[in-house]
Subunit: 453 residues, 2 copies
C-alpha cells in the first residue's frame, strides 16, 4: 500500500519479495581470499544472504521454495557501489561538452541548475539516474546535490541503497538562495530522513574547500559528526583550486582541511587529483575515504589522480561516475575499464590497478567508503543481498578465461541481466520492477525540451 513520506509526498510501497535463489553461474564473491565458485547458488531470505553453495554434478536443487533468478551462462557478483554521483544531473546529460571545467561549471552547469532545478525536475532527473544505474548494475550510491528530499523520494521508489547528501555551498544555490541558511537546511534534511528507511542514509555534501568558507566547512563537519554520518566533499579536483586554497590559507587543501578538523575517517573525498606525497600520507594516516572518478576527471581535463599511489599508501579508494553532465553516463562497468587502463598508461605499470583491484574499488572498497562494509560489498552469508547477474552469453564476452577480466575489460552495463538490492529484485531479465522507464524518459524529455543555456 502506498503511504506518505516525511515531506508529505505520496510514496509507493515496495512489495516485499519472498525468498530468493540465484541459481547457477560463476560466483565472484569478492570476499577476501575466496576463490571463484564456477557453478554456484546463492540463497537469500529476508534480504540477507543465508548461504552460498557450489552446485554438485548431480545437484538436488536448493531444497527450498523460492523465486529463482537463473544465472546460467552468467557471472554473479556483488552489486556495484557508485561512490560519487549527482543522479539528477541526467537532466543536463550532453548539454555542455568539450569545455574546460571552469567554463563548463560557471557558464553552463551553475546557470542551468539555477534556472531549471526545482523539486519536480530533481525528482524526475534522479529517477532517470536510478533507472540508468539499475540498468547498469549499480545497487548503492553516494549522491550529493540540491533538493535532496526529492532525490530521497526517487531513490526510495527505485529500491536502491544510498547515502543521499544535501549540498552545502556558499553561493545562492538551487532551493537554498540564502547561503547563511544552507547549513540549517541540511541539518533539517538529515533530521527529516534519519531512520526513514534501512536503505537510505541522509548526509551532507560540502561542494569544495574553495566554494565553502572555513565556517561552513567546520559547521557541516560538526553537524555530520553529531549524527555520526560521513561528510562528502570535492577535493583538489583542479590545480586552480589548489592554488586558490594555498593563496588564501598558505596551505595545500588537505592541510587546510586538517587544520579545520575535517581530515578524519568520516570524510569522503571525491576526485582527489592534485595531491602531493605528504597529503596522501596525511589522508591515509587519518583514514579519509577517497572516490576515484576517472571519466569525469578526463572529460573535464581536471587531471590524473594518483590512484595507485593512494592504494599503495593504504587508502580506501572507491569508484564513482560523477554526474551525467561530465561523463556522460552512469555506467560503472565502463568506469572500471577506464580506471584500470588509465592507471596503466599513467603509472606505466600494467599490474598496479589490475582487474581484481578495480572490481574491489567498485564493490568492497566502495562499501567501506560509505561505511557500509559490514552490510554490503561482498557476497557472504550474513550480508545484505545486493547482487547483480551479468549475462556472458554474448559475442563480446566470449570466451571467458577469467571472469574478472570479462567484467573489467569486456563487459559494459548493458550486460547486466538481473539486479537485487536488499533481497528485492529491481530488474529481472532487463525488465524493471520498481520503475516505469517509459514514463520517466518521457517526463525527462519534456523537462529537457525547455532547457537552453
Amino acid at each position: 500500500m502506498d503511504y506518505k513520506d516525511r515531506t508529505g509526498q505520496r510514496v509507493k510501497a515496495h512489495k516485499k519479495n519472498a525468498d530468493l535463489v540465484v541459481e547457477g553461474g560463476m560466483i565472484v564473491t569478492m570476499a577476501e581470499g575466496q576463490a571463484l565458485i564456477s557453478n554456484g547458488r546463492v540463497l537469500i531470505r529476508d534480504g540477507i544472504i543465508t548461504d552460498i553453495q557450489s552446485r554438485k554434478e548431480k545437484d538436488e536443487g536448493p531444497g527450498i521454495r523460492a523465486e529463482v533468478i537463473d544465472a546460467k551462462d552468467a557471472i554473479v557478483m556483488p552489486g556495484l557501489v557508485n561512490a560519487h554521483t549527482h543522479a539528477a544531473m541526467t537532466l543536463f546529460r550532453g548539454l555542455a561538452d568539450d569545455l574546460p571545467l571552469k567554463q563548463w561549471l560557471f557558464e553552463k552547469i551553475f546557470p542551468a541548475e539555477a534556472k531549471f532545478l526545482n523539486p519536480d525536475t530533481v525528482y524526475w532527473g534522479s529517477l532517470l539516474g536510478c533507472l540508468e544505474m539499475i540498468a547498469s548494475g549499480t545497487t548503492c550510491i553516494a549522491d550529493g546535490y540540491f533538493f535532496q528530499d526529492d532525490t530521497v523520494r526517487a531513490v526510495h521508489e527505485s529500491g536502491l541503497r544510498g547515502l543521499i547528501a544535501q549540498g552545502v555551498i556558499d553561493f545562492p544555490a538551487p532551493g537554498a538562495p540564502d547561503p547563511k541558511k544552507n547549513l540549517k537546511l541540511a541539518r533539517e534534511f538529515i533530521e527529516r530522513w534519519l531512520g526513514f528507511s534501512a536503505l537510505i542514509t541522509p548526509g551532507m555534501f560540502c561542494h569544495s574547500p574553495v566554494t565553502c568558507s572555513e565556517q561552513t566547512l567546520k559547521g557541516a563537519w560538526e553537524v555530520s559528526r553529531s549524527f555520526d554520518l560521513p561528510l562528502q566533499i570535492h577535493l583538489s579536483e583542479t590545480s586552480d583550486e589548489v592554488n586558490e586554497v594555498i593563496r588564501k590559507t598558505g596551505e595545500r587543501p588537505v592541510f587546510y582541511l586538517d587544520s579545520l578538523g575535517l581530515i578524519d575517517k568520516g570524510l569522503i573525498a571525491a576526485h582527489a587529483i592534485h595531491l602531493d606525497e605528504r597529503e596522501i600520507s596525511c589522508l591515509s594516516e587519518n583514514g579519509v575515504k577517497i572516490v576515484h572518478v576517472p571519466e569525469s576527471n578526463m572529460k573535464l581535463c581536471a587531471g590524473l589522480a594518483p590512484v595507485r599511489d593512494m592504494i599503495n599508501g593504504g587508502l580506501t579508494v572507491g569508484l564513482g561516475t560523477d554526474g551525467c553532465s561530465s561523463n556522460n553516463n552512469l555506467d560503472l562497468f565502463c568506469e572500471m575499464d577506464t580506471a584500470a587502463k588509465l592507471s596503466k598508461v599513467y603509472d606505466l605499470d600494467p599490474v598496479g590497478l589490475d582487474a581484481y583491484t578495480v572490481i574491489k574499488m567498485a564493490t568492497r572498497w566502495g562499501a567501506s567508503v560509505l561505511g557500509l562494509e559490514k552490510e554490503i560489498g561482498t557476497l557472504e552469508p550474513g550480508k545484505k543481498a545486493d547482487i547483480i547477474v551479468v549475462d556472458i552469453h554474448q559475442p563480446h564476452l566470449c570466451p571467458v578465461y577469467s571472469p574478472l577480466s570479462a567484467i573489467v575489460y569486456s563487459a559494459n552495463g548493458a550486460d547486466v541481466k538481473d539486479v537485487i538490492v536488499n533481497g528485492n529484485v529491481l530488474m529481472k531479465n532487463r525488465e524493471f520492477t520498481t520503475l516505469d522507464p517509459v514514463e520517466i524518459m518521457e517526463k525527462v524529455k519534456t523537462i529537457s525540451s525547455n532547457i537552453r543555456i
Copy 2:
C-alpha cells in the same frame, strides 16, 4: 545458392536485398558542412544511397516499395570503420591481462598463436570478431593476421566490408613457419582474393620495423605497390622499439622507413605513439595514414599517442580497437569515448578532440585511411549504403541535446539496433541475418577450452 571460393571452401551466398528505406530518426550524415537532419529518411537501391530526405510534417512516405528499417527514436549514421584490428584474436580475449607489452606478446600471445592458430580456429575466431563488430556498429574493418584465407571467408560470410591483410614477419609465424616464404605466401594471398568480392580487398601487413628486416619491408612495399594496395604496419608502439630501430639504423623509425621508401600515402601506420615533431611532419607531408588505438595503447602501457598534434599537423587519423586480447572488446563506441577523453587529459585541451572529431575518425577519416573515401564514411547520395541505426530510447541516452555527444559520451555498441552494409541488412532489431551467434559462440568456447598458456 552456396558456391566454392578460391580456396575450394564452400561459401554461403548472400541473399541480395531489395530496395531499402531507413525511415525516421536523426540523421548524422558526417558529410562536410552538412547539418543534422532531425527527422529524415534514407533511400537505398542496389546497395547505393539514392536520396536523403527531410521528412515533412504531413509526410507522404517514401513513395517506393521497399523494406523499411524503422529509425524512430534513433540516430542514423555512417557505419563505423575499425581501421586496425586482428579479428581472430577474439580467441585470446582475456587470456593474458595486466602484463607489460613485451611479456604479454612474447610469453603469452606469440606462444598461444603458435600453438593454437590454424585455418579452423582463425575462421571461427574471425567469425566471432565479425559477429561482435556487427553487434556494435562496425561495418568495415582493416584486419591483419595469419591464415587470412580463413579471415576472408569469415568476413565474406558476415557481409562486412574489409581490407584483409596477410601478416608478414621475420619469425616463424602461424601458417608460415619459414620466414623466407612469407612474402611469397602474402603475394599469393593477394592474387587469390583480388577481385573476388566488391566488399573485400586483400593486402599485406608487416608486423613492425623491428620484427621485419629491411628486405622484408621493401619487398612487402613493392608487392603492395604493384597491386596498388595499401600496406599496414605497427609503427612506434613502444619506446623500446624506437630505441631498437635507432640502435640498429641510427635513425628514428619514420626516417628509417622513409629511407626504404615506405613513407608514402599507401602506408597505414597503426599505434604511432612515440613520434617526435619531425616524424609527425614527415608522415604528414607524405600522406601516410594513421590509426589511433587508444584502449590497446593504454592497456599495454604502450604510451599516449600525440593524436591532436597529428590531426593539427594535417594527418588523416582513423580509429581502431586492435585485437581483442589487448582491449578486450571490439566496440568502437567505447573507443570513441576513450579517444576523446584521453586527449583532453593528455593534451589538457578539452576542445582538441571533441565529439565531432572522434566521430570523423571512426567514419570519414577511417574510410580515407583504407582508401575508401569515395565509397563509404559519410551518408550521401551515390555512396555505398553502409549505415547504422542507434536506438536512443534508453535511460542512458536520455535526454539528447546533441546526437554527437550522445554517440561519443553516452552510447555503447549495444545501443546499435540495425546494421546495413552495401545495402544488405546484417542486423535488424539486434537479430543477426548472416551469422548464427549460438553456433559461433559454442564453437569458440570449444576451441578456447583447450587453450592454456
